[in-house]
Amino acid sequence: MNNQQYITAYYLDDDDLMKSVKHIREKGLSINDVLTPFPVHGLDKLLGHRRSYLPQVGFIGGAIGAICGFYFQYWIFTEAYPLNFGGKPFASIPSFIPVTFECTVLFAAFSMFFAFLIRSGLGLGAQAKIHDEKVTDDRFMVIIPIDESNRQDSINHIEAVLNETGAKEVKVNG
């Protein structure tokens, strides 16, 4: 998005945003991104985003945690340090369950948290490109890319569509 120019505009209400996004999409314009101060439900469906794979990541992380946690205990009690507790079996599976469960949760939470950060490009020291400091307050901003092959027409068209929707502060950025 660094070289590409785009047009930003904002709305003051999430319902207006939803209607406008629908309108913009119907007019055949693509939307790069929508910045909102809180999660607006149904927006990702309108934008055509597919569902995130985070649940699957969490499941795999949890499964790895469960296997590692269980096998670690099993290995210690049968191979590394077998101890006889009143003649009970070395691999006393029921007493491995609590630690296995904790490992499952820990691995799942960790893998999802970091998958979320990495996939979204967030993290300590990540710099946000701030278009408007009010988007984390009460402004709902749409970002529409300009078609470089036909620059002026594209700008005029986008501006016309945005003005129809009652967008505020329509401006070209880049």
Binding site: P39, V105, I130
Partner: protein, 456 residues
């Protein structure tokens, strides 16, 4: 969206999104009030007392405590269980109420979760200091060592190590996930250069992109799904510390559910104690309303009644089991030398919460505040009663003994109270204590001004 006309608004007053941001970030702007300085002064003083207690314990050893050969777990473990229990409310509010789609949690989840983290910190301190040799605390972690030793995975005390540390870490991740968007709000509002730089670093470069929000929502929901069984497992495992031993009064199968409901009971009491003061002091009465207090009181009466039933069940089973040691343990609890503690516990935990059946009391802030203090005290005494009365007279009358804490133990307890309140006071200055983005997302469906306007 259809909104029942009977239902009270969750956010009072005519508010728009900007006003929500302004209101919630207001307490962090400007200089702290003199009450804040008084509060942090007192808390630091208490923390100092705890510091002195810690130094004495480490320097001279655990002999400075009031423990003896019969009673090896005194205030130290009592405090551990009490603090861990308090932490449970935060996760309950943020995870279980999220899964049940309870919108009222949005106003209190942030501070309750912060309280969880602080309570877990206070709790974790006690088993470590109880080892007597703090420097060898790392022995509880399974790592390959030159002694060729491994930890004992059959022991509930070790399960506790895993449960409490996992709980602490997952709570931190969950809390921080929710905090990222609000930190971005703080970043964009900050005018001071250094403040802006710090919030910029902490907000992880959050922009509010729809894609990020979508993932953020998925992450929060699944983290809640993970945290919900986790919170139940933590106090279950804490109760195993007792239940898997053969001490009369501890060796009961009722312990896990009884401890979990007790934990949520005491945690909600602590949330109420803090929030009733905080909402007033920080002018957040429109966000944390009497309606919120009433909802929390309903949870207190539910869990309090479960705790009451558990107490009675214990008595019944002791009698019905026909085991004379078990019977004596409970006779001794109610009528023995520690009967005063037992009856404080009974009054505070079984009788006082029942007052919440009256709507007037449930909706009265002063009554709620007083009852919440009673519950905090009662739940501390519950752990004291379980630990001390069961240990001080068990099978062999020749080893019967009595226990009183030494000044060092009292100082350590006061120290953790100081730590808890110091962290809380710092938290309200540094982070928004209400989840701004979450409140905004329920403003339309549950705010007062939007209720009568039409948003079909």
């Amino acid at each position: 969206m259809y909104v029942s006309p009977v239902r009270e608004p969750l956010i009072k007053g005519k508010k728009d999104y900007n006003k929500v941001t302004e209101d919630i970030t207001a307490p962090m702007a400007g200089k702290p009030s003199k009450y804040w300085y008084m509060g942090i002064g007192l808390s630091l003083l208490a923390l100092l007392a705890g510091g002195i207690g810690t130094v004495i314990t480490i320097w001279y050893g655990i002999g400075t405590w009031g423990l003896n050969k019969t009673i090896g777990w005194g205030w130290g473990i009592t405090n551990l269980v009490w603090w861990i229990g308090i932490g449970h409310a935060g996760t309950f509010i943020s995870a279980i109420l999220l899964l049940f789609r309870q919108k009222w949690r949005t106003s209190i989840n942030r501070s309750a979760e912060a309280m969880t983290l602080m309570a877990v910190t206070c709790a974790g301190f006690f088993p470590l200091i109880h080892m007597g040799r703090l420097l060898l605390g790392f022995f509880i972690i399974p790592y390959p060592n030159t002694r060729d030793l491994w930890v004992n995975f059959n022991s509930p005390l070790l399960w506790d190590v895993f449960a409490i540390s996992t709980y602490g870490i997952v709570s931190l991740l969950f809390w921080y996930t929710g905090l990222i968007p609000d930190l971005a709000t703080m970043r964009d509002r900050a005018t001071h250069k250094i403040k802006k730089a710090i919030y910029n670093l902490l907000s992880f470069g959050w922009t509010g992109s729809a894609r990020h929000w979508s993932r953020h929502e998925t992450l929060s929901l699944i983290m809640a799904g993970l945290a919900a069984p986790l919170v139940l497992s933590v106090h279950t495992i804490v109760s195993f510390d007792f239940a898997t031993s053969v001490i009369p009064g501890w060796h009961t199968t009722i312990f896990p559910p009884y401890f979990v409901s007790g934990a949520i009971f005491s945690g909600f009491a602590m949330v109420l104690t803090l929030m009733i003061v905080a909402r007033k002091a920080l002018n957040l009465e429109d966000y944390i309303t009497v309606n919120h207090v009433e909802s929390m009181n309903k949870i207190i009466i539910t869990t309090g009644s479960i705790v009451g039933i558990a107490y009675l069940t214990e008595l019944f089973v002791a009698w019905y089991s026909g085991v004379e040691y078990e019977q004596y343990a409970f006779m001794n609890r109610a009528l023995g030398p520690y009967a005063w503690a037992y009856w404080i516990m009974m009054t505070c935990n079984v009788i006082t919460p029942q007052l919440f059946w009256f709507k007037k009391i449930r909706r009265s802030l002063i009554a709620t505040f007083i009852i919440s203090i009673f519950v905090n005290i009662g739940m501390w005494f519950e752990r004291f009663v379980i630990i001390i009365t069961s240990l001080h007279r068990d099978f062999l009358p020749s080893s019967w003994s009595m226990y009183a804490p030494s000044l060092v133990e009292v100082a350590l307890f006061i120290g953790t109270l100081g730590l808890f309140f110091t962290l809380f006071l710092l938290f309200i200055r540094a982070f928004p204590i209400i989840a701004i983005a979450e409140v905004k997302s329920v403003l339309k469906s549950s705010g007062e001004n939007k209720k009568h306007s039409n948003h079909e």
